[in-house]
Symmetry: C2
DNA sequence: AATTTTTTTGACCATTTGGTCAGGTTTTTT
DNA sequence: AAAAAACCTGACCAAATGGTCAAAAAAATT
């Protein structure tokens, strides 16, 4: 936390007594170990994720991000150059956590377990970083101009690779016949819809917003859907125990 | 802005010879039967759908729509007042075709047929009006500020109504146990993903863009997915014959 | 302590954009 | 044909926005 303060980003009105946002600034260390850049970039990216998710690239103003990050606008430009640069940096961050889940599809695994783990991973991402999902969705809807190369190389390769695994499972009779590629599209669609279209889901469910339980229901539904589609046995009853260890992970994002 | 377009949008430079958008104006009828307004509004809405879909609300400029519609910007304001007004008009148009497909879920129907028809309807919409789907998706992702009321009333009511039908099917043993609401979310997700995320799908499939065959494949996959999920028999083999009668319908929208 | 490097920030600017308007043209009505 | 209504549009704003910059404050290095 930079010492800054409430940082009235405009000029003008700032009553002397209200500028003390953090308690006892004087006690904080006078400097960090040269990690200023990293800390600030992270702070900005976090703010940017929220703002870009809500307003899209064009709807987002640098000023809005600056306010969300509690930093002057010029500071963002100091770290990321341009709005586009910041956006790209953010996209990279989001994409990183995207293909990792594919690792669950190993040839020697039990298909049912692989799918179950994959779905749970995806839904965990949906729950923990819905904003990131929205930023990505927005980018794709608007033509994927900044990530098309990534889609056509890294993502496609990864999908093709895992499609073979699934095709082999089908061939060896371990699961019902399903088009692997379209299966992936379906998996992405049904999991990410709870992040991207959360407002719609909540509206239809008559909830003010989606809660943990709603997403657990969704996860169970999706597990059923996938396993049935693949002609696999519906494994664990799926209720409480498995959702345990989530604390400990800082979720301040 | 993206386009480097010709069409000098400022004043100043405009070569005389490029201002002729439609060929042979002199041959057109000198007047229409008082349908000028309707025709122009339609023309503008059609252009707006494409532009809003590609750029989102904030990324869209009235100038861009004007160029797409081949009309001066002031003309749009004449018909729709504000950008917001035009956007709302467009959303209404899109929403109209949204809940109609629900009609397939009639208590006395065979579940398998109802689901199949619903999926085909949805996929037809995806194929014929992908832009409309994107406009809607964009609106929801960004908080559904203009349609939240619609979601919480008309859509919710309609879904609840049909959820009962499905629940009854389940109770009477006509289909496997499935959460009706989440089933709808899944249906929407897997069908609309081929419109909203078409770029991603195309990239993964290594196609320059999605073709008719790709969407047919997708439809068949989704039919399998849905029927298996609901424990229903996979009806027709699904190949050629059923996709026949699509001509005759004007699809210029 | 002096020096160099990094970070911070208010003020400023060029461009873009939604929206207006007055005057003109076309179509419909009388 | 005249009057009224509807439609068209170039020219013009005020506000918003991405980006710049120079000078100063902090931090790291010597």
């Amino acid at each position: 936390m930079p010492r800054g303060g409430a940082t009235a980003q405009k000029s003008g009105e700032e009553p002397q007594d209200q500028i003390r946002p953090l308690a006892d600034v004087s006690a904080l260390p006078r400097s960090n170990g040269g990690r200023t850049r990293q800390l600030n970039e992270d702070r900005i990216l976090r703010a940017a994720e929220a703002v870009f998710a809500e307003a899209g690239f064009n709807g987002t103003t640098m000023q809005a991000i600056a306010e969300a990050a509690r930093l002057p606008k010029a500071n963002l430009h100091y770290y990321f150059g341009t709005k586009e640069g910041l956006y790209r940096a953010l996209l990279n961050r989001v994409l990183d956590g995207w293909v990792d889940a594919f690792d669950h599809f190993q040839p020697d695994r039990e298909p049912a377990d692989a799918f179950a783990d994959y779905v749970r991973d995806k839904m965990r991402f949906t729950r923990q970083r819905p904003m990131a999902s929205k930023v990505f969705a927005n980018e794709i809807i608007h033509g994927a101009q900044h990530v098309s190369h990534y889609l056509k190389t890294k993502l496609r390769d990864r999908v093709d690779e895992k499609a073979v695994v699934i095709a082999d499972w089908v061939k060896s009779g371990k699961m019902a016949s399903v088009d692997p590629h379209h299966l992936f599209f379906s998996l992405w669609a049904v999991t990410q819809t709870y992040a991207d279209f959360d407002v719609q889901v909540a509206a239809v469910l008559a909830k003010p917003k989606l809660g943990r339980e709603d997403l657990d229901d969704a996860t169970n539904h999706i597990l059923r859907l996938v396993l049935r589609t693949c002609g696999l046995p519906e494994t664990r009853p799926e209720t409480g125990p498995e959702t345990g260890p989530e604390t400990g992970i800082e979720h301040h994002t």
